[in-house]
């Protein structure tokens, strides 16, 4: 198309600390001293969140979920970013950050209500400092900036006290980078020097649109235009994702302001379970990305270099089985929404007219149920 003249090439300067083959490499700006046990723990995270994803897809096929947005291929980006957070940091996800939720100790079942249709999110952002999923593309990046404005007003940046200084981490995609909201979030964060880190998972696709539809230059360079640093990291490398995010969060906590991280990765599955990627991309593309699998490289590293308990991998596998069982049974057991719930959840202070509507609806539903039982 005449309007598309430039292509996006993976940057030479993409930060990588673990090659697809499982070789540990150093990067001058991102030294990471990490023990093999810690790497093993990351491996466990990766395996378990992939398992959650696999189970959720199966549940959707069985009709237990209405929809699922798979993170397959993006585990390393999400676990690296998620594990860089401190407990009192705050995370604002989009709708695909199941791996980040995992790092925040959010029970996977908590995420399923939205996709099963039993609630609209339905959990408290405060419990794990992890916000409810936001589906309107980009909207959450402004919430993150605003939350960071609050952090500044609370005097919780740049004090040097690790238990006090707080950073905000928000997630969005390559497609989202085109939304006005995301760019306004950059404006507010730069002008306010806010303690927020923008974590863009460039999984190469926005449903059927390649990233070239959004930008003709690498997305991490967007930050230049607003006056804060941007960096591209290998999003299939959990160590690099961890190191780069950790650095950015530290800068934020130390009043150094925002950073944009572009995690270069790939959406291995359809956009959601309703999507059919065969209409717009070649299977071959996924094949080449399979060679960069985020988990395989960690396993390769561990088997080659780490002194782990002989039953470590079996242990993770067993745990993954238990987790799958938990997800399967827990999903089916999720309570249906009560007829009163949409009315009760709307306001803190319910107007009388709404109370009347609620009572009418509750009676109406009760009357159907009676009919049903009557039959």
């Amino acid at each position: 198309m005449s309007e598309h003249v430039h292509a996006v090439h993976p940057e030479p300067d993409m930060v990588q600390l673990l090659t697809p083959e499982g070789q540990r490499v150093e990067h001058p700006d991102y030294p990471l001293d990490i023990t093999d046990e810690q790497i093993a723990a990351l491996y466990r995270d990766l395996v378990l969140v992939r398992r959650i994803d696999t189970e959720a897809i199966a549940l959707q096929r069985q009709g237990e979920l209405g929809l699922w947005a798979s993170l397959l291929g993006q585990e390393a980006a999400q676990i690296g970013a998620g594990r860089a957070l401190r407990p009192h940091d705050m995370a604002f996800p989009s709708y695909r950050e199941h791996g980040v939720a995992w790092c925040r100790d959010v029970d996977p079942l908590t995420l399923l209500g939205l996709f099963r249709g039993t609630n609209l999110g339905g959990f408290s952002p405060y419990e794990h400092n992890f916000n409810t999923y936001t589906i309107v593309i980009g909207a959450q990046t402004l919430h993150a900036a605003g939350y960071a404005m609050g952090v500044v007003r609370d005097g919780a940046v740049g004090t040097g006290d690790p238990d006090r200084d707080t950073a905000v981490l928000t997630f969005f995609g390559d497609g989202a980078s085109s939304q006005g909201d995301v760019n306004e979030a950059f404006v507010f964060s730069a002008a306010g020097n806010l303690p927020v880190v923008f974590f863009c998972q460039n999984n190469q696709w926005a449903i059927s649109e390649p990233v070239t539809t959004q930008s003709r230059i690498p997305l991490y360079q967007r930050a230049r235009g607003f006056g804060f640093p941007g960096v591209r990291v290998d999003g299939n490398d959990v160590l690099a994702s961890l190191a780069v995010t950790r650095k950015a969060l530290d800068d934020a906590r130390n009043a150094q302001g925002p950073t944009l991280i572009e995690a270069f990765t790939y959406r291995m599955n359809p956009h959601t379970t309703s999507d059919d990627p065969t209409r717009y991309r070649l299977g071959a593309e996924a094949e080449t990305w399979k060679l960069k699998d985020p988990i395989a490289r960690v396993k390769a590293y561990l088997t080659r270099n780490a002194q782990l308990p002989h039953d470590f991998f079996d242990g993770v596998e067993a745990e993954s089985q238990r987790l799958a069982e938990h997800v399967r049974t827990g999903c089916r057991a999720l309570p249906n929404p009560t007829p009163a719930s949409p009315f009760d959840a709307l306001f803190e202070d319910m107007p009388d007219e709404l109370r009347e509507q609620r009572d009418e609806f509750v009676d109406f539903v009760a009357s159907i149920d009676e009919e049903v039982h009557a039959r």
Partner: protein, 329 residues
């Protein structure tokens, strides 16, 4: 040529829309289709399926992911002499483009003293009942019906889908075109000629009560009328088709005959299209009304989690209940 595949054929609404778009693009080289995923993918509902292949990437445009950008660039294209047809992927995602719609698309004709046309069609798949997540089941038509400078319509059948989309695109005024997504796969025969775009239609003649609906609720209203018929109540069903302007002559004529009106839509009730219909009918047919105008609508809550939508949405039971209440006056 698309007639052979459309007129007289039994098509799904999705296919009828696709054929209507194709026809408009064949008839007028200035017609462009633009939006998210409308190209290779053919849209998440496949309404634009095959159009990019046949008309090229210059006329079927996968835009960056930004609704304000989609509408705002459509405005510029219109000023340059094009007829953009913008697809909003789901009802709940039109709002980032709301400013460009109500402050630019709706106003530029007036701003330029009528010297600039805005022949823009904004297609919005709307309504619930498909088991979707938040923002994917809404009915935002009332927001647009309030804005002067916009025309707002909704199709309820494949035949109307085929013809109305072409009429909307041919309109020199901006049209917000609401497509009842849960009826996309229902089949119907395409008539060989259209009604005027802004005329309501008597979907079922009746004498006891008038039930006015549009979009997805027309089918539901007809089902209710069938049940009512068994019980000996003769319900007239109006398909409003045009929400702004409203076809008051047709509505008033029906109400004067039946003396009773029930308005049905999925949209929230408060300050909605049904409020306007009720307000006008009680004023313009005051002495004809034997009962107040009643409304069966979505409740004034957020659209519920999908496991509750079947009950939350207006359905046959609630319509029949309203019909009974109307007759009880």
């Amino acid at each position: 040529m698309s007639e052979p595949t459309a007129i007289g054929q039994k098509l799904t609404m999705a296919k009828a829309l696709n054929e209507g778009l194709r026809k408009s693009m064949e008839d007028d080289p200035k017609v462009l289709v633009m939006g998210e995923d409308v190209g290779k993918l053919g849209g998440v509902f496949r309404i634009t399926d095959g159009l990019q292949k046949d008309f090229g990437e210059d006329r079927v445009i996968d835009t960056p992911l930004a609704e304000s950008g989609i509408i705002g660039t459509a405005v510029g294209l219109a000023i340059r002499g094009y007829r953009p047809v913008c697809e909003i992927q789901f009802d709940g995602f039109v709002f980032p483009g709301f400013d460009q719609i109500v402050s630019q698309v709706a106003k530029i004709h007036s701003r330029s003293a009528g010297l600039v046309k805005m022949p823009i069609t904004i297609r919005i798949p709307f309504g619930g009942g498909i088991g979707a997540v938040e923002h994917h089941s809404e009915s935002p038509e009332s927001y647009f019906a309030h804005a002067p400078g916009l025309k707002v319509v909704s199709c309820a059948s494949p035949s109307d889908a085929y013809w109305m989309i072409q009429q909307a695109i041919a309109s020199d005024d901006p049209v917000i075109f609401f497509e009842p997504k849960r009826r996309y796969w229902a089949k119907g025969e395409v008539a060989d000629a259209p009604l005027p775009l802004h005329q309501a239609r008597i979907a079922r003649a009746g004498s006891d009560v008038t039930v006015a609906a549009y979009g997805p609720m027309v089918t539901t209203a007809l089902e209710a009328a069938a049940v009512a018929a068994e019980e000996g109540r003769d319900v007239e069903v109006l398909d409003l088709r045009s929400l702004s302007p409203l076809d008051m002559p047709t509505i008033l004529d029906s109400v004067r005959r039946t003396g009773r009106l029930v308005v049905v839509h999925e949209a929230w009730r408060n300050v909605s299209v049904s409020s306007e219909v009720a307000a006008r009918v009680q004023e313009q047919a005051f002495y004809s009304l034997e009962a107040p105008v009643l409304r069966v609508t979505g409740y004034d809550t957020q659209y519920p989690p999908s496991r509750l939508e079947e009950e939350w949405l207006p359905n046959v039971d609630r319509i029949l209940d309203a019909v009974d209440r109307s007759l009880s006056y």
